[in-house]
């Protein structure tokens, strides 16, 4: 047996021994961390109204192309967090559920119609509805869980929904994809009408 193989065998044995000797990492430094993150992550995907509106934002951004395709996902989380901030400090926002339902109707209609308003108008529409979504969903932290981890989970899940919408919206480059997107937008609009009917 060569010296190299002997050294390799001895090294492997030592490594294995050290691995077995190692103590695990500190497991419970703070309470409620993991639960807070998972709750925040699951909260946006638990409501179909929120899911459809977020996906529609991504789809519309993809239809509009640059710079809307990245400007909307950059500005939406901030506007949404502003809505959550208003809710947390106790500023009332009348008709929140109606606003969320209308957001699905309007955003779905924009996708269905392949609407191309000026960039500032698209940003205002998306930003306004983001405030409603943030106000409704950003404040629902269960007792005993971490606010920071809940917030991170909530923002990450919303961003992932946007990314999903953008990925779907990339179908726009093919003619059949454009028709599919318009159909999907119309479906979201109809779902928004259903949400509105349920609220009213």
């Amino acid at each position: 047996m060569s010296k190299t193989r002997v050294r390799r065998g001895a090294g492997l044995a030592l490594l294995l021994s050290f691995a077995l000797l190692a103590a695990p990492a500190l497991a419970h430094e703070q309470q409620g961390q993991a639960a807070g993150f998972v709750t925040g992550l699951l909260h946006p995907v638990s409501g179909p109204d929120h899911v459809l509106a977020m996906v529609a934002v991504g789809m519309w951004g993809a239809q509009l192309g640059a710079p809307a395709i990245w400007l909307l996902p950059v500005s939406f989380p901030l506007a949404m967090a502003f809505g959550g901030f208003l809710g947390l400090v106790g500023v009332p926002l009348p008709g929140v559920e109606i606003g969320i339902a209308v957001s699905a109707i309007l955003l779905g209609s924009m996708v269905a119609a392949q609407a191309r308003p000026p960039l500032w108008a698209a940003a205002v529409v998306v930003g306004l509805f983001a405030v409603f979504h943030g106000h409704a969903h950003g404040t629902e932290l269960p007792a005993g869980q971490s606010g920071l981890l809940y917030s991170i989970g909530f923002v990450v899940a919303t961003g992932c929904l946007h990314a999903t919408g953008i990925a779907i919206g990339l179908l726009h480059r093919w003619p059949w994809g454009q028709a599919t997107l318009r159909l999907a937008g119309a479906t979201i609009g109809v779902a928004g009408l259903f949400f509105l009917w349920r609220v009213v």
């Binding site: 047996m1 010296k3 193989r5 002997v6 065998g9 001895a10 492997l12 044995a13 030592l14 294995l16 021994s17 077995l20 000797l21 103590a23 695990p24 990492a25 500190l26 497991a27 430094e29 703070q30 990245w70 996902p73 950059v74 500005s75 989380p77 901030l78 949404m80 967090a81 502003f82 959550g84 901030f85 208003l86 809710g87 947390l88 400090v89 106790g90 950003g138 404040t139 932290l141 606010g147 920071l148 981890l149 917030s151 991170i152 909530f154 923002v155 990450v156 961003g159």
Partner: protein, 200 residues
């Protein structure tokens, strides 16, 4: 051949010698420097602002990033010592929110900053978070040497992340960094709301 057997026997002996698992850092005896390192990497309150600072430094080019790389850990250490000898950890409510909000917004905006502004922001963040960490260490009755571990961990995260951002050439990669900045700012805004509402 004989050496190989000896090595295997030594390995087997070490395997029999393995200690029982320990779940808590206090019983591992790693010492205050490692406590500081592990505290930093396990505390998102500290980790996230440094990540935001590293993203901002990377976006603003190598000159500012190099300054920030050395200024941030040094300021963290100085602020930590000041907090250790004269701070009050009870003032910490909501302090994590402000750096997240400011740095995240700057990353999302992607405006070119002068190198001294980047260094100044790094200095302010280091003094701010270092001070509260130092005060908390004093209140917990731990050793100030933990600040050395924290400073080292800050340096490593700052160096790796800002270097990664500096190396990005694709416009889409830069936009991804901006989206991450908007997520961090949104988290900061929500955290500010939690803090003001007393529910964080």
């Amino acid at each position: 051949m004989r050496s190989g057997r000896l090595a295997s026997l030594a390995g087997a002996a070490l395997l029999l010698w393995s200690a029982s698992a320990q779940a808590h850092l206090a019983s591992t005896g790693l010492g205050p420097v490692y406590d500081g390192i592990s505290h930093f990497f396990l505390s998102l309150d500290d980790l996230l602002p440094v990540l935001a600072m590293a993203l901002l430094a990377g976006l603003n080019g190598p000159v500012g990033a190099r300054r920030a790389l050395f200024v941030l850990p040094a300021a963290w250490f100085v602020g930590g010592l000041a907090g250790f000898y004269g701070g009050a950890a009870g003032l910490a409510a909501g302090v994590t929110a402000l750096p997240l909000l400011v740095l995240g917004t700057l990353v999302a905006a992607d405006r070119k900053l002068a190198w001294f502004v980047v260094a100044l922001l790094a200095c302010a963040l280091g003094l701010w978070n270092g001070w509260f960490n130092g005060a908390a260490i004093a209140v917990a009755g731990r050793e100030a040497i933990a600040l050395v571990g924290m400073g080292g961990a800050v340096f490593v995260l700052m160096a790796l992340t800002s270097a990664l951002v500096l190396s990005l050439r694709s416009p889409w990669a830069r936009i991804s960094v901006r989206v991450a900045g908007s997520w961090i700012a949104a988290t900061g805004l929500l955290m500010l709301g939690w803090s003001l509402s007393g529910r964080a």
